[in-house]
């Protein structure tokens, strides 16, 4: 067994500034390549389905619903499988591989059922890989720099999401109507992502590493070694009780409370558009603006979270969200749009990585992927509830009124959230 890339071995107690683990950078590159792949397809899929396949937008809406909804359940499964087998890398690889295959499957898929199936499989792959990948990031990083590690990963990931549509546009500009070219190039990027993951990312095994290095051993070697066939089988069993840790419970309750008051950005953009009569052609650009802010702030806020506590930054991110509501609901000119996008980007940069970093540290390493998956699923479910609730509010009060109500609710909920989450920083730090 070879130890592939040794310098993710920063888990030991080296002093001073450490570099971001190579494993994290590699996973970031994997996500970047995969996002280039998936976002280039996402950018053209609506037009492909409606303009080329001649299906109605209603059919497209159906596909889009699957696109966004299917991954939640599989995410828990991905976490559980990663912990149970103690091979998060291979569960993640299965997820990335599955999504990669769907790109090429788009070529012969011309009917409604075929496209629906392809899109569903892609989302299943995404659900499967997320928690195992985050568990790998956590395993490869020293606890004191976990926030930065997630920040680096999310920045690379978002960079890919920005490049994808650009790539699709360049291809379609050169070859009008050649959606096949987009699918094939997208497939190539997805394959590259899988190749980097399979070939270069070490098969970190959190449970085995803990079993071996009960204190004295060099945890780094244990973590980075692919010890198939040697050593005693790991004892720790994955169980619901391990995940249902009380400290994780505090985080889950807080995340659920905050998530229920987190309005989807689609609604926020729509509120901005309705109020300012923002030219509708700018609508798709709002997503780009948020992503640029997210990408720029992911690393600085990750670093900050390592210093002041991930819980603090997680809560701070929701303050930014509160500010975004107030800015969008209040009076103002076109600067409001820019400020609002900046605040939204701040919110994502402060919360997405911090949630993974927090949940990763709150459960034993043996069930880390399950812990991360649980937290992410709780947030996703809470936001689903929020969307429905906000839709009702919107109809009853209009966009401005609905935003005021949600802002007030968020302000109120932040108090118990602070009481629940702040102590976690002390425990984990």
């Amino acid at each position: 067994m070879y130890i592939t890339l040794r310098d993710d071995a920063t888990r030991g107690s080296r002093t001073g500034r450490t570099r971001v683990a190579t494993t994290v950078l590699l996973l970031g590159v994997v996500s970047m390549l995969t996002d280039i792949s998936s976002e280039s397809v996402s950018a053209v899929l609506p037009l492909y389905i409606t303009a080329v396949l001649g299906m109605s937008p209603l059919a497209y809406g159906f596909v889009d619903g699957i696109y966004n909804g299917a991954s939640a359940v599989v995410r828990l499964l991905g976490g559980w499988l990663a912990d149970r087998g103690d091979h998060p890398k291979w569960v993640a690889a299965a997820g990335y591989g599955l999504s990669a295959l769907t790109r090429i499957a788009l070529l012969p898929a011309h009917g409604f059922a075929a496209i629906t199936a392809v899109v569903t499989v892609d989302r299943l792959g995404k659900g499967l890989r997320t928690a195992p990948r985050d568990a790998l990031i956590a395993e490869a990083s020293p606890p004191e720099a976990l926030g930065r590690a997630f920040g680096v990963h999310r920045a690379l990931d978002t960079f890919g999401a920005l490049l994808g549509p650009l790539l699709a546009f360049v291809l379609l500009a050169a070859l009008p109507g050649s959606y096949e070219s987009v699918f094939v190039v997208s497939f190539a990027f997805a394959v590259l992502g899988v190749a980097v993951l399979v070939l270069l990312v070490p098969d970190l095994r959190p449970r085995r590493a803990r079993a071996r290095s009960s204190g004295a051993t060099d945890g780094a070697t244990g973590g980075a070694t692919d010890g198939a066939g040697t050593g005693p089988p790991p004892r720790a069993r994955v169980s619901v009780r391990l995940v249902a840790d009380r400290r994780l419970g505090r985080l889950l309750v807080a995340a659920a409370l905050l998530g229920v008051l987190t309005v989807g950005d689609g609604f926020l953009y729509l509120a901005l558009q309705r109020r300012d009569d923002l030219a509708t052609e700018f609508f798709p650009l709002l997503y780009v603006g948020t992503n640029v802010a997210y990408m720029a702030l992911a690393i600085p806020l990750g670093r900050l979270s390592d210093r002041v506590g991930r819980g603090a930054v997680f809560l701070g991110g929701h303050l930014a969200l509160l500010a975004a509501y107030l800015v969008a609901a209040g009076p103002g000119g076109s600067w409001v749009v820019v400020v609002c996008l900046l605040l939204l980007g701040t919110f994502y940069a402060a919360t997405d990585g911090a949630l993974a970093a927090l949940s990763a540290r709150l459960v034993p390493a043996a069930v880390r992927a399950s812990g991360i998956a649980t937290a992410q699923t709780v947030v996703a479910a809470a936001r689903f509830v929020s969307s429905i609730g906000f839709g009702l509010l919107w109809v009853a009060l209009g966009s401005g009124g609905a935003l005021w109500v949600v802002a007030a609710g968020l302000a109120v909920v932040l108090v118990p959230a602070v009481l629940l989450v702040r102590p976690l920083d002390r425990v984990v730090a």
């Binding site: 067994m1 070879y2 890339l5 950018a43 609506p46 037009l47 409606t50 303009a51 080329v52 396949l53 001649g54 299906m55 109605s56 937008p57 209603l58 059919a59 497209y60 809406g61 159906f62 889009d64 619903g65 966004n68 909804g69 011309h110 409604f112 059922a113 549509p165 546009f169 291809l171 500009a173 050169a174 070859l175 009008p176 109507g177 050649s178 096949e180 070219s181 094939v184 190539a188 990027f189 590259l192 190749a195 070939l199 270069l200 692919d226 989807g264 689609g266 953009y269 729509l270 558009q273 509708t280 052609e281 609508f283 798709p284 936001r383 689903f384 969307s387 429905i388 839709g391 109809v395």
Partner: protein, 339 residues
Amino acid sequence: MSWSVRRRLVVLALVVVVCAAGSVAFVLHAQRRQAAVVADAPPVPTVAPSSVEQGPRIVFRSTLLGEGYGLVAMTPLTAPDSARALTDRACERVYAAADHLLCLAADRGVVTTYSASILDENLREVSPLPLSGIASRARLSKDGKLAATTTFVAGHDYAQTSFATQTLVTRVGGASYGNVEDFTLVHRGTVVRPVDRNVWGVTFGDDDDTFYATVAWGGKTWLSRGSLSRRTLSTVREDAECPSLSPDGRVVAYKKRQGRPAGQWRLATLDLASGRETLLAETRTVDDQVEWLDDTTVIYGLPRSGADAAVTDVWAVAADGSGSPSRLIEGAWSPAVVR
């Protein structure tokens, strides 16, 4: 696998080379093929627009491969499949009535944007319309004075798990009636306010007020009759989408799910006076808002199968359920009959 780092890097380099070479080869091949298709495509027989645009005609989006794909075209109503007159205007969806033309266009870019505009007989823009999504349906009233557009709005949906449409009605050169979704919805005699309601596919009556449209909520679709002046919409019949009123205003044609899987429909007509519904002889799934060729025949677009899906044909079938469908115009989509 117990490969050395070096070996892994070599394999990765190989993967990179294969992926890059494969992509470049495919793109170049696609480019050559595209050039060949354009070169080999039998030249689309065309005539000067001036010879067609005066008399009764069918206006449509030309989908014959090669030059002119996606452009608005027209043929005389008396000879629908004769040589077409191509305009220089590209639209995803087009409708025409009197001397107005409604064009829903997609401007592809880093961010694809969508636009809708009313054009006059010289294809000059009379007035731009608000639009924020993928073109779906476009209709004008018979006198060309009312315009309705349905677009799919991404990101506007509740919880992103279902589609949302935006259906706007505008008086050409005048006020907008806004989103029809905001009209008062009456169902079985009472006003209802379902949050998940969606409205699409408007067709106008002749009185400058009445229209029909699809209203959907709770997983069901309803044919609904609306009034622009009262801003109301009342359900008429379940399971009916994309209605289209016959020229004499007596029959409405639409597509029905009848429990089929999502994305599959059957065409039907409804006699408004008697309430009798008739399934049409077209058994293939049709996803279009049909147009009336005359008071007894409906026409609609169908994509060809498989890799030829980019080419669509306009078909015609009797509105009373008799006969069998026949191809009316090859390589056409989104037909509108201007009488």
